[in-house]
Structure formats: structure tokens, C-alpha cells
């Protein structure tokens, strides 16, 4: 491969600097004793202490995590069933219709999802709060799981299922011993994506939450609207570290899963 030109290198560097500048800017000032995002006065852990002492914030964090884990687990289950259903549908028309509807949810802007869910919950009389937020998060995560699992199912050779049946496996055995293990990388990826979508969501939650129930995103929004508060900086540093750990963990786990395939290429 050709060495990259100096100009290209500068360009990439600038892009990377700009992408990461805001994050490191936030982190830097989270240690500022002056309490502003300019004029670094002296180093302090005060804001972190405040984050850890703030029980309200702790409850919100807990809410966010519970919603994220529950919604991604449930949406993964529905999504896997959905992907299985899509591949088993016989007519191409019906299959494409299902996929289109699946994609509608993916491309729909958050505002539309939020507003329409708000209307839906009002219609069927679901009280806004934990329940409505959980249902919404499940609903918008399902199509992502479907999309992550589908390629795995499609590349799976149909003879594998024939082989399992041939060896005496019942329909349930085929599902649990062959299909699910085979598509587990997709299931894992789907779960992980659902998790990040849920953790990251602001707009939908903002529309459908109520009764004092709040997630981290909504909380940050309302804090930010009131102006700068270095507790947010401290919090964002912690979130950044958590994200980093999550991503690195995901990267390594998915890499491990991909290893046999690399061996295949080498052959």
C-alpha cells in the first residue's frame, strides 16, 4: 500500500481532533474548581463528588440502565422471532412488505416516533412514566435487532437445518441447537445496538415520559437548558469511560466470535 500523503494525514487528523475536541473539552473542565467551562482555575474532584452524592441523579442513572437492559432484552427476543419469521415467509411480496415496515421504523425521525407514541399511549390509556418509556424503547429497538440478525440467517445454508433434521433433531432441537447458536453473533450485535440506542435516546423518551420519571438524556437536556453546570461535565466523563469500556468489550467479544471465519479465509 502507498504511504499516505502529508495532506491526507493532516485532513484526517483535523477530522479526528474536531470529533474528539468537545468530549475532551468537557472532561477537562470537569476538574475546574471555578465552576465554568472557561478559565481553568484549579484542579478539583468536587463535581465528581457532587455526582456521587446526588441521589436523584443516581436514581435517574438506575432508571436509564434498567430501561436499557430490559428493553434491549425484550426487543432482542421479539426481533429474533421477527427475523426468523421474515426468512420463513414464502412469498417475496410479503417478505418485502415486512422489511419495508421494519425500515419505516428505522428511518422514522425520533420526533415522529415520540409524537406518534404519545398519541398512541393517550389513545389506549397508558399512563406516561416508566411503562410508556419502556414500551417505546422496546418498540424502536425491535427493527434494529431484526436488521442485525437477518444477514446471519440469510447466510446460513439451508442444508444445515436439513442435516440437523436428518440426524434426528426435532423442530425445537433445530432452533435451540443449530439456528440460535449459528446466529448468536447477530443476536449479540442486535442486543448491543439496542442497548446503545436505548441509552442514547433522548427525543422519544422526552415525548413519552411523565410523572417525574426521567432518564439521563432527559435530565441532561433540562440541566443544559438551565445553563452550564459542571456536574454534567463530570457525569459525561464517567459516561464516556463507561462507553469506552462497553465498546472495547464489544469489540473483543465480537472479534473472538469472528475468529473461525478468519481461519476459513486463510485456508
Amino acid at each position: 500500500m502507498k504511504r499516505m500523503g502529508r495532506l491526507s494525514l493532516i485532513y484526517l487528523t483535523i477530522v479526528f481532533v474536531i470529533l474528539y475536541a468537545p468530549i475532551f473539552y468537557l472532561m477537562y473542565y470537569s476538574f475546574n474548581s471555578a465552576g465554568t467551562m472557561h478559565n481553568f482555575e484549579s484542579f478539583t474532584f468536587d463535581w465528581y463528588r457532587e455526582v456521587f452524592q446526588d441521589t436523584r441523579l443516581f436514581i435517574i442513572l438506575l432508571n436509564t440502565l434498567v430501561i436499557a437492559l430490559l428493553s434491549s432484552a425484550i426487543s432482542t427476543a421479539i426481533g429474533v422471532l421477527g427475523a426468523l419469521a421474515i426468512t420463513r415467509v414464502k412469498t417475496k411480496r410479503f417478505q418485502n412488505a415486512l422489511l419495508t415496515l421494519n425500515n419505516v421504523m428505522i428511518v422514522s425521525p425520533d420526533v415522529i416516533i415520540g409524537a406518534s407514541f404519545l398519541v398512541l399511549f393517550a389513545m389506549i390509556g397508558i399512563k406516561l412514566g416508566f411503562g410508556s418509556v419502556l414500551i417505546s424503547h422496546i418498540a424502536f429497538s425491535v427493527p434494529i435487532v431484526v436488521l442485525m440478525v437477518l444477514p446471519n440467517l440469510e447466510e446460513m445454508s439451508p442444508t444445515l437445518i436439513d442435516a440437523a433434521r436428518d440426524l434426528g433433531a426435532s423442530g425445537w432441537d433445530v432452533l435451540t441447537r443449530v439456528v440460535i447458536p449459528y446466529i448468536s453473533p447477530g443476536i449479540f450485535a442486535g442486543f448491543f445496538m439496542a442497548l446503545t440506542y436505548s441509552l442514547d435516546d433522548f427525543a422519544v423518551t422526552f415525548f413519552v415520559t411523565g410523572g417525574g420519571f426521567s432518564t439521563l438524556s432527559v435530565e441532561i437536556y433540562s440541566l443544559a437548558r438551565r445553563g452550564i453546570s459542571l456536574t454534567i461535565n463530570a457525569l459525561s466523563t464517567l459516561i464516556f469511560l463507561a462507553t469506552l469500556i462497553l465498546v472495547i468489550g464489544y469489540y473483543f467479544i465480537s472479534k473472538q466470535g469472528a475468529k473461525p471465519k478468519e481461519a476459513e479465509v486463510r485456508e
Binding site: S157, T159, L160, D162, A163, A164, R165, D166, L167, G168, A169, S170, D173, R177, V178, P181, Y182, S184, P260, K261, A263, E264, R266, E267
Partner: protein, 368 residues
């Protein structure tokens, strides 16, 4: 000897939706402990037959019997047959041991029993010590052996092999042919082997079924099929042959390329048009104006064991000759052959019609 029949197809027709049928009114029986080959071009229905036996598809009409029990609608997991797939269909998420153990695990066999049986099966295919290897890192030949072990560990009464050698290179292929034949002898179970490779079919089988467009064209031992093809399709598909139009003058007398020749065929109407088959290796090259047929050499290819020589007679028929003798392109040469080298076929005759002709001929002879 009905007690030896293990699988019987009774008037099986298989049709998908409104497409033309894949199999049309196919009937046959397979005996216990023999090596059968289903041979034919792609799309002839050979794979459909083993998928019917395995239970992956159900016949549109007709019935399949296993040990004289009808099994047409029994699901594949309840049948005492196992399959080796063209792509092996080994489970990529399981290692060698777990692949072979799969069938035993779903039968809820005891773990120590499974261990012993899997060991035994792997020993049988010379894969001892590779229990913990992943599937994806293995060579084609090794994967093939795992597939064999995975099937035979279940002790099937019939083993179905769907073109299992087609993914292997030539050398490995012939090695595996020997091994499969040995395996079948050692196990003593019925093998149903699907292939489109006629050499493979002739080399391996006790009996060959030649199929074309959903119909069994001919069944018989490799020798029968090779020497006595019932029609042009079989003659053309099995080995290389010269197929020339001719007229059956009388019993034991045939005319082609303007000359009459003595032959060993019988049972035709007088002066019935027919097709003459002579194998390229049965033609012997003689000097000009000698032999039974005069031809001009058009081209010549060296094939290693022999020369493949292409000639034309005065009527423009192409004659393929396999000879260890080299000739000169453009020369006139003579071709010689004996009466037993000529095989006369009735136009478009099926196997049943062929058999009936022989029978009716015998009757006429006895009556007269």
C-alpha cells in the same frame, strides 16, 4: 426375495407448484447392503430422490416404503437414514466432536456412551485426535470425513450421499472413492450415492440408475449400462460413444454407412430404423482400404493413455477412435470392429420397452 428390499418407491411423482414435475411416475426398489448410484445431469431429479428418502420433501403422488412400512409422510428425524450433504452441512459453531455427537445428543444418549461412539466413528474415518478442532479450519477432505463420521455414528440402515465428492480436487476425489467403497463394504449398509460423474458411478456402484428429466432411463450393473445402453441418452451420457443412424435389416444384420454388418442384436421389425453405438475404444485402426469402414482423420489429441482421433466417413458421420497408435491428420484409414462391438438401439426406447421387446421376442421364438 422381498425380505431383502429396504426401500421401495411406488409410482412417485414430485411436482413443485405449477412447474413441470421433477420426477414422473418413478418406481424401483433398493436392496439391503448394496451400493447404488443415481447418475444423471443436473436437474434430472436424482437429488430429489434422496431428499424423498431422507424425508426433506414429500411425494406429490405415490408412496415410499422402508422395510415395507410406508414412510412418505414421516419427518426426517424419525427415519433410519442419514445423509451426507454436498456442502457437508457441518455445524460451524460446533467442533469436530460435537458435530459427530449431534445426532446422539438429540437422542438424549448418555454422555459416556456418546463419547465412546464418537471416538469409534472418528477412528473409523481416520480422524482420531482431532476431536477438539474447529470445522472451519479443516481441509475439504477432513470435512468430508467428519460428515461421514457424523452420519454413520447414528447407525443408519441407509446412507444417502448427495454428490459428496464434487467439491474435492481430482486426486483427493479418487482417494475418497476408494474409501467410500471400503466403508460401504465394512458397514454392510445400503448406500445411495448421487453423482453426475459417470466414471465415479461406474467405479463405485453395485448398481447404477441413469436418470434424465425425472425418469429412470436405465438401471443395471455398471457393465450392463456401459455395454448395453438402452437409448441414445444413456449411450451418450455414459462414456464416449459413436452413435450412428442405421437400419436393422434382420435379426443379427444391421446396415450403416452403406454397408451391412453382422451383429448380436435381435428383436426388431425387419428394416426398422435404429441407432448404432460403437465405443471409441472398440474401434481398431487398420491401413487404408483394410477394415470394415473407411474414414479420413480430421484431428488428433494426445490424452496420455491414448490418442483421441476424430475421423469422418463418406456420409459425414463423426467417428471417435481411442488408440495407442498415432496417425497422421488428413490420412485415409480403415476401422475394424467385431459383431459384438456393435450395439443397436431402437429409437427413443425406454428401459421398460427394451425389456418388453426382449420378452415378446422370446415368446415369439417359443411360439414359433
Amino acid at each position: 426375495m422381498p425380505e431383502e428390499t429396504i426401500i421401495r418407491f411406488e409410482n412417485i411423482t414430485k411436482q413443485y407448484d405449477n412447474d413441470p414435475p421433477v420426477l414422473t411416475d418413478v418406481s424401483f426398489e433398493l436392496e439391503r447392503g448394496k451400493f447404488y448410484t443415481l447418475l444423471g445431469p443436473s436437474g434430472c431429479g436424482k437429488t430429489t430422490i434422496i431428499r424423498l428418502i431422507a424425508g426433506f420433501v414429500q411425494p406429490t403422488t405415490g408412496a415410499i416404503y422402508f422395510d415395507e412400512q410406508e414412510i412418505s409422510n414421516i419427518p426426517p428425524d424419525k427415519r433410519r437414514v442419514n445423509t451426507i450433504f454436498q456442502d457437508y452441512a457441518l455445524f460451524p459453531h460446533l467442533n469436530v466432536f460435537e458435530n459427530v455427537a449431534f445426532g446422539l445428543r438429540v437422542k438424549r444418549m448418555k454422555p459416556d456412551m456418546i463419547k465412546a461412539k464418537v471416538r469409534e466413528a472418528l477412528r473409523f474415518v481416520n480422524l482420531e485426535g482431532l476431536e477438539n478442532r474447529g470445522i472451519t479450519g479443516m481441509s475439504g477432505g477432513q470435512q468430508q470425513r467428519v460428515a461421514v463420521a457424523r452420519a454413520i455414528v447414528n447407525e443408519p440402515e441407509v446412507l444417502l450421499l448427495d454428490e459428496p465428492l464434487s467439491a474435492l480436487d481430482l486426486k483427493l476425489r479418487s482417494e475418497m472413492q476408494y474409501e467410500l467403497r471400503e466403508l460401504q463394504k465394512n458397514l454392510g449398509i445400503t448406500f445411495v450415492f448421487v453423482t453426475h460423474d459417470q466414471e465415479e458411478a461406474l467405479a463405485l456402484s453395485d448398481e447404477v440408475f441413469v436418470l434424465n428429466s425425472g425418469v429412470i432411463q436405465q438401471r443395471g450393473t455398471p457393465n450392463d449400462i456401459y455395454d448395453e445402453p438402452v437409448n441414445k441418452f444413456v449411450a451418450d451420457f455414459i462414456g464416449e460413444s459413436n452413435i450412428i443412424p442405421g437400419i436393422m435389416i434382420n435379426d443379427y444384420l444391421v446396415e450403416f454407412v452403406g454397408n451391412q454388418f453382422e451383429c448380436v442384436d435381435q428383436g426388431f421389425y425387419p428394416n426398422e430404423p435404429a441407432e448404432i453405438v460403437i465405443r471409441p475404444e472398440d474401434l481398431e485402426i487398420t491401413g487404408k482400404d483394410q477394415g470394415k469402414l473407411q474414414v479420413r482423420v480430421d484431428s488428433q489429441l494426445f490424452r496420455g493413455v491414448h490418442y483421441e482421433i476424430c475421423c469422418y466417413d463418406k456420409d459425414g458421420n463423426e467417428w471417435l477412435v481411442h488408440s495407442t497408435r498415432k496417425v497422421t491428420v488428413g490420412d485415409e484409414i480403415g476401422l475394424d470392429f467385431g459383431p459384438e462391438d456393435i450395439h443397436v438401439m431402437r429409437l427413443g426406447e425406454t428401459e421398460d420397452e427394451f425389456d418388453r421387446r426382449l420378452e415378446s421376442y422370446e415368446e415369439v421364438r417359443h411360439a414359433g
